[in-house]
Amino acid sequence: MRTSLLLDIAADACPDRAALGCGDDAFDFNSYRARARCVAAWLAGQGKANTAFLGMNGTALPVLFFACGMAGTPFVPLNYRLSDGELNKLVARSAPSILIVDDDMLPRIAAAAGVELIARSDFEAEFMAGPTPDTHEPPEAENDIAVLLFTSGTTGDPKAAVLRHANLTSYVMASVEFLGADEDEATLVSVPAYHIAGISAILTAAYGGRRIVYLPAFTAEDWVATAAAEGITHAMVVPTMLDRILDVMAATGETLPALRALSYGGGKMPETVIVRALAMLPHVAFVNAYGLTETSSTISLLGADDHRAAFASDDPIIRRRIASVGQPLPSIELEIRRDDGTPCGTGEHGEIHVRGEQVSGEYLHKKAIAEDGWFATNDAGWIDEGGYLFVEGRLDDVIVRGGENISPGEIEDLLRSFDDIADCAVLGIPCERWGEKVVAVIVSRSGAPDTAAMATAIRERLRSTKTPEAWFVRDELPYNETGKLLRRILKAELAEAVCAD
């Protein structure tokens, strides 16, 4: 089954329903599909294997996404927050490709063999402007890869996760009711296209019959103003966004009466933030969703009733479930396993494993899924006596700061390039504002390290979000007998010292 089928049956069943955008400029489902078909015909004629996209959110994005499915060219969204060097490496890896780029990002892209650049303004003038074109159904495409999504690799180079049409459509059909949305429902999408939630939002909105309104890029002020002006009923945010949204609501007095459901995921939600949100938005159904790129988005969720029950309970076992990700989807099998592969008991910590049709567990040229279909998530977690899943973060120590995955390795590598650094470790320490903050623990040869100079170097060579916000100087770092750095011990020691905000 192909992703374009989801748009096709929605457009056949409710061609006149608003699908994308705002007011008189909104495209209905018929126009949405017709434009996607035009783009598909153009892409097919270009004969490039992949279609890459580098740009902000907007209605061109879902049109291009479905067109890729129709044309059989995998959609490859690129992260505009990467440094120019990192970004151009991925551009080169997308070849042979068409790359559609926001005009103001064009100067960042170096020429790469097999990559043809198309300015977004040209794309939009050709396909997004003017009346709905006349089209017919394109021939069925062969390629069963729908999306190649670069994940932040733990050991350096990003991996291209493969999501097949069958993975994505299984996820959507198992978790969403076809045209289950009321005609007046609208979802506000502020997560970028290079995040799996930005992809799944396109699919679930089309299949559910819910209009999408895009924020080009997230700011809390825009989010609140747009939600109010457009009568937004649904939205998905990452934890950092929610905290800032609540600040703006508190400052402006906006109550968002039309909002019905708010889901969050992509990192650990601080309990203080969700408790504040429940109090400030008593009419809203909160959903905590847990999933990975490799699982086509959500595999477990904590629904509205569970949120309110936990919020209202004095029983510590029920109360703590507000920090859980609820229960696995009915279409997903989920187990916690020990290091030796045997299943954990209730309350026992281990690695989360999942199996199901939506689970791709696959990277380009490399399957990461077991013969029997089980996928090791590399996330640590445990399940309580009621079957509620608690996720404790990556086993492999990737720092998740404000929804952005940061690999400590490259920061450590840069630090080690300073003569004064004898040893170092970069860690994520829990923090209310960002989920985790980046801290560095260093062993200095001189005993008087110039951390300001090191911070400047990281900011310039990598980026500001990767710059440690706190520095600790130690005589030595803890290692186990096989020479492996004991990050978890360091983290535990530092967590108390850093948790101030």
């Binding site: 096709d8 049956i9 076809f178 999933g291």
Partner: protein, 102 residues
């Protein structure tokens, strides 16, 4: 009749349209209103009468299953006829919708 996942069909006797979600384990005939369904792009308009034994209707968005063969079908457009696989009435899959998570 190749009932592969994602294949689209329509009733020969009413307005119902269907998408195969899961194929049957054994070959057979998908029927609506008592008559074999036809491919979605078949140009012939629905005609004839609906068998009274298969007139419970197809609802949009509902999922219909034949437990024995595993066939699962989505109602993509509503119609007056109801579904059967090789003459055995299909049943509505009672799945509770999940809250929107993205």
């Amino acid at each position: 009749m190749d009932l592969k996942p994602g294949s689209r069909w329509k009733s020969a006797v009413c307005d119902a349209q269907l998408v195969v979600v899961r194929p049957p384990k054994t070959p057979g005939e998908l029927q609506c209103g008592g008559a074999a369904v036809v491919p979605i792009d078949d140009p012939v308009a629905p005609s004839g009468s609906i068998d009274a034994a298969f007139a419970d209707s197809v609802a949009i968005g509902k999922r219909y299953v034949d437990e024995e063969s595993g066939l699962e079908v989505l109602g993509a457009k509503p119609g007056k006829g109801s579904l059967a696989f090789n003459g055995a009435a299909m049943t509505i899959k009672g799945a509770k919708p999940l809250p929107a998570s993205d």
